[in-house]
């Protein structure tokens, strides 16, 4: 398999997801050796365009590209010509004229990556678009689950928190349900998108019930910056009702896996005991992120000359 763009997990077939996850294991092996680099993408140029603040995802993509020996350009909105009034497409046309191969884009507007696929020649990877999807986060979450649980099929996965504003939640839901997990979304009604159950998940407005028998607890960040109106009275109330602490975690299975895409609001959606506890794989998720992104870049960069050869 090799595909041209990665925009959503909604449209990525199950077989392709499986292939990325298998491949990521080989790349994890690479990044754990003394020389953490392979020459595979030598001569390819990858542009990271981040129109929203990000440390984790941007550095993860940058490192993934560098460990595949690609050249990387980082463009941040605050320092780009966009602030001088240039349109996004003009900025990209300029960069494409410098002979690049792939664009990794994060944007606050849902749909921008898809829009780019229709207007530029390079391969496009969605690194998070608005409230839509964050496919590589979904993939790395699945990879982290498989690493601990050896499978996804049949597992009870509870996604807790701000489902409405979360692209991570959407990518997780699409990916996990496709791979056969039983997904429960847990949070206050005001943070629950309408008709979310149509995606094949169970909705739960009570944390204890939501965590019951969970094999995996994926805790989402309260996205204060995305809330235009007050969706819950106070942070303190949210922490009391939906913050996951060691007491609440007892409702999940004792060997459950605790995940958080970061950055964490310690003491709000997750207590420090849980974040740093034995069930937590939060730091491992970051390591896995690089391996999964290497797998994605690898699959997107190769095989371009296929037609010319056959």
């Amino acid at each position: 398999m090799s595909f041209r763009h990665l925009i959503t997990l909604q449209e990525l077939p199950k077989e392709d997801i499986q292939e990325i996850l298998n491949l990521a294991q080989s790349f994890k092996q690479v990044i754990l050796r003394p020389i953490k680099k392979v020459p595979t993408l030598k001569g390819k140029t990858i542009v990271n365009m981040f129109f929203e603040p990000s440390t984790r995802t941007r550095t993860s993509f940058e490192l993934a590209a560098k460990r595949l020996s690609a050249d990387v350009l980082n463009i941040q909105m605050s320092t780009s010509s966009v602030v001088k009034g240039e349109t996004l497409l003009d900025t990209l046309a300029t960069i494409e004229a410098m002979q690049i191969d792939m664009v990794v884009i994060r944007h606050s507007a849902s749909g921008v990556p898809l829009f780019l696929t229709k207007n530029i020649k390079s391969s496009v990877i969605n690194a998070g678009d608005g409230m839509h999807e964050h496919p590589t986060q979904g993939l790395l979450d699945m990879f982290s689950i498989i690493e601990k649980k050896k499978k996804i099929e049949g597992l009870n996965v509870s996604i807790v928190g701000d489902i409405a504003h979360s692209r991570v939640a959407r990518s997780n839901i699409w990916g996990l349900t496709k791979m056969g997990a039983k997904v429960k979304v847990v949070g206050p009604t005001t943070l629950m998108p309408k008709e979310i159950e149509k995606l094949g998940v169970t909705v739960c407005n009570d944390l204890k019930e939501g965590l019951k028998d969970a094999d995996v607890v994926n805790i989402l960040r309260v996205q204060l910056e995305r809330q235009k109106k007050n969706l819950f009275p106070t942070l303190r109330e949210y922490a009391t009702l939906f913050g996951v602490n060691s007491e609440k975690l007892k409702y999940a299975k004792p060997d459950c896996v605790v995940m958080h895409p970061g950055p964490m609001n310690r003491g709000i959606e997750i207590s420090p005991n849980v974040a740093d506890g034995i069930n937590s794989v939060i730091n491992e998720q970051v390591t896995n992120g690089v391996a999964v992104r290497m797998a994605v870049l690898y699959l997107m960069g190769g095989g371009k000359k296929d037609e010319a050869f056959n």
Binding site: N22, L23, I35, P39, Y298, G302, G303, K305, D306, F309
Partner: protein, 185 residues
Amino acid sequence: MQKNFKVKSEVLDREGIDRALTRIAHEILEKNKGAKHLALVGIRKRGDILAERIAEKIESIEKVKVPVGAVDITFYRDDYDIKANVDINATDLNFSVDGLDIVIVDDVLFTGRSTRAAMDVIIDNGRPKSIQLAVLVDRGHRELPIQANYVGKNVPTSEKETIILDIESNGEDKVYVAEKPEKGA
């Protein structure tokens, strides 16, 4: 065995393979004056099977267990722009290659490109004292300046032909020359 390949002749049978590997084991020990700083690294797939067999021979001759590793060369191939291969096996180098005499083991030496890639994998894992090459079959048609130190059998072939090794655990343990199927067949 691969589909649609027309077998033309048998090159090595079970005994032939075994004798060739025994001789290679002796030659490796002779050249390296024993097995003290020796390690074998097989190229997946099949090179790793042969590496294990040579290690057994060395153990029965010298009573020393030499480290055996296996490498997958996919990420080091030079045809990534033609095809992004996804059939990737684990690289298994559970020892430091620093200061060792490494013998790369492969089934067939053809263009030399796999050997080049395997050398790069090993060098990315450390600094061996030397790298040598052992192959069961050398079929010619080199595209790089690479030469094997230890060869089981030289088999002149044409570009249209291929070498089939049936050496997996449940196989017949034979080596054949076969003709490639016509494209589209």
